[in-house]
Amino acid sequence: MEVLTIKQYEKTGILSLKDLTLPNDEQLKKGVAIIECVQEIPCDPCVAVCPVNAISMKDINDIPKIDFNKCTGCKRCVGICPGLAIFVIKIRDDNALVTLPYEFLPIPKVGDNITALDRAGKPRGNAKIVKVNRSNKTTVVTIEIEKDLAMEVRSILLD
């Protein structure tokens, strides 16, 4: 008989890096999307929106797979994902850019100082907003943070 085990994220709602498919350093320098969608749910808009066909699924319930070599980091998937589960990470020489979906008011502005939050909502220092786009009422925000936090920070709190 199959043993029923409950995964840690099913208890907490928080994914760990072990649960995710991650790009290599080279790909991170280029800037790529990281899809934090690990369950087979019937949903596929990210596949259709990708202009370079970097995201693929066998059927509607499949977990989206991303080809980091094809991905250009264009951020379209960040705005379309109904689960707000896609982020674009770009590692630069002295800092990192994290692009995340944001659905709260007021709409953040470029230059705003924010508190960066991790997957558990814990404050991880201050950051600055460097880019803001709107896509179907989802605000796509890019923040500039320390390199070490690029894989941790997934939300923002406006000061």
Binding site: E10, P42, K122, S155
Partner: protein, 415 residues
């Protein structure tokens, strides 16, 4: 509640008017003689009547109209067309074809416009069906339309009926569950997203299924503090992506926890939570107090089937459906010829599948009346889409539900 001396009024769907008198009602209501009811029946004859204008009902109407059915009546007790869709401010999951990535409210507006632009569909809002009968030639539905000058009694004679009545929220039994401030999640959504009213300042959410998770997030978006989400099961039932959204906003989710009681003087002032063991029993000594002014219950739904039962459709209890449901075939027809069911009334599922079931029911009802434009091909397409939605791990419950319904249809429960 009693409104202007009329008992048994659902105040949640009754608009406020000047000098309106709303009173609590704690006993069986008695009709006052003063209220003028227009007891003269207004008679309406239609080809298809659809009860409920949610995603299933709207799609059924649009689809039947496309098949060429000349007169379709869409009835809803609310003052807005769209059912639960109008409250959904989040983007929908699903496939491109089923409008994935579109917000429920935007989808509602889109479908509303389609319904309103089709001349063969007439929609009748603020109208409650109070009885339905299966006649020899026609099905007869008795309705009450709420009008400013008094209620109008209406008799609808229809060749075919599609019930897309949705579902009702489940409640939990615990001391204090009748205190003002204890809400169903759907009620909270109506207050916030339809009426623009914050339900409270600090909310305790009970239930970590998709509804509990989504409504918690919507509360945060409305500027309401969500203290935590508690879930009696050892794991989160909703999608991880919804849970992750809440967690990164700092809202904790307590699995294997439940609500023991709510306390407060005349209103909710707080709740007592308790940890739950593997046998679903509370663990003594683990009680903790949470101060809050709102408790929101999101512990599942029960299909609304009372009208289906009244018209004589065969029903069965199917746990995976959320309760009793009308047994139906793969064209959504019930055991009564010409009576169809679609959406949550045929088993609790998602808006996306409700829309497809509505399309199936609409096509089937049209075919029965002799309107057929590639009906078989379309039915195949819709059935395939449903199969797709029900093939993943989150589709297991509806899949089993529909398999059991098929078993019942084929002669009884043998599973």
């Amino acid at each position: 509640m009693t409104v202007d001396n009329v008992p048994n009024v659902r105040t949640c769907i009754t608009p406020l008017e000047e000098n309106i008198r709303v009173l609590e009602q704690d006993r069986v209501g008695e009709l006052s003689n003063k209220k003028k009811f227009n007891r003269k029946r207004k008679k309406i004859d239609v080809d298809i009547v659809i009860v409920g204008s949610g995603p299933a009902g709207m799609m059924a109407a649009i689809t039947a109209a496309k098949q060429g059915v000349p007169s379709i009546l869409l009835v809803d007790e609310n003052h807005l067309i769209g059912g639960q869709l109008v409250k959904q401010s989040h983007k929908f999951f699903g496939s491109e074809e089923e409008k994935a990535g579109t917000r429920g409210i935007d989808l509602a507006v889109e479908l509303m416009e389609q319904v309103n632009s089709v001349k063969t569909i007439q929609s009748m809002l603020k109208t409650t069906i109070i009885g339905c009968y299966n006649g020899k030639k026609n099905h007869k539905l008795i309705a009450i339309k709420r009008l400013i000058e008094g209620d109008q009694l209406i008799e609808i004679n229809s060749k075919s009926v599609i019930f897309a009545c949705g579902a009702m929220e489940n409640m939990l039994a615990f001391p204090g569950n009748d205190l003002p401030g204890v809400y169903g999640a759907g009620g909270v959504q109506t207050l916030m997203n339809v009426y623009g009213v914050k339900p409270g300042k600090k909310v305790l959410m009970v239930g970590a299924g998709n509804v509990g998770l989504i409504v918690s997030y919507q509360l945060l978006q409305a500027g309401v503090n969500v203290d935590r989400v508690v879930e009696i099961l050892p794991k989160i039932g909703g999608y991880n992506v919804h849970a992750a959204k809440l967690r990164r906003c700092g809202v904790p989710i307590y699995t294997s926890h439940s609500i023991k009681e709510v306390y407060g003087n005349g209103k909710v002032e707080g709740a007592i939570l308790v940890a739950i063991n593997n046998s679903f029993k509370p663990i003594p000594g683990t009680e903790q107090k949470v101060s809050c002014d709102t408790v929101c219950i999101a512990v599942g739904l029960t299909p609304s089937i009372r009208l289906l039962e009244q018209i004589g459709a065969k029903t069965e209890f199917i746990a995976e459906a959320g309760g009793h449901v009308a047994i139906h075939d793969s064209s959504m027809q019930t055991s009564v010829k010409g009576v169809y069911v679609a959406g949550d009334s045929s088993g609790i599922e998602e808006a996306s599948t409700a829309m497809i079931e509505g399309q199936l029911a609409g096509i089937s009802a049209a075919t029965l009346l002799g309107y057929d434009k590639q009906a078989d091909m379309l039915k195949k397409k819709y059935r395939k889409a449903l199969e797709g939605f029900r093939s993943g791990p989150f589709g297991i419950k509806p899949k089993i539900c529909k398999e059991k319904i098929a078993c019942c249809w084929n002669g009884g429960i043998n599973y």
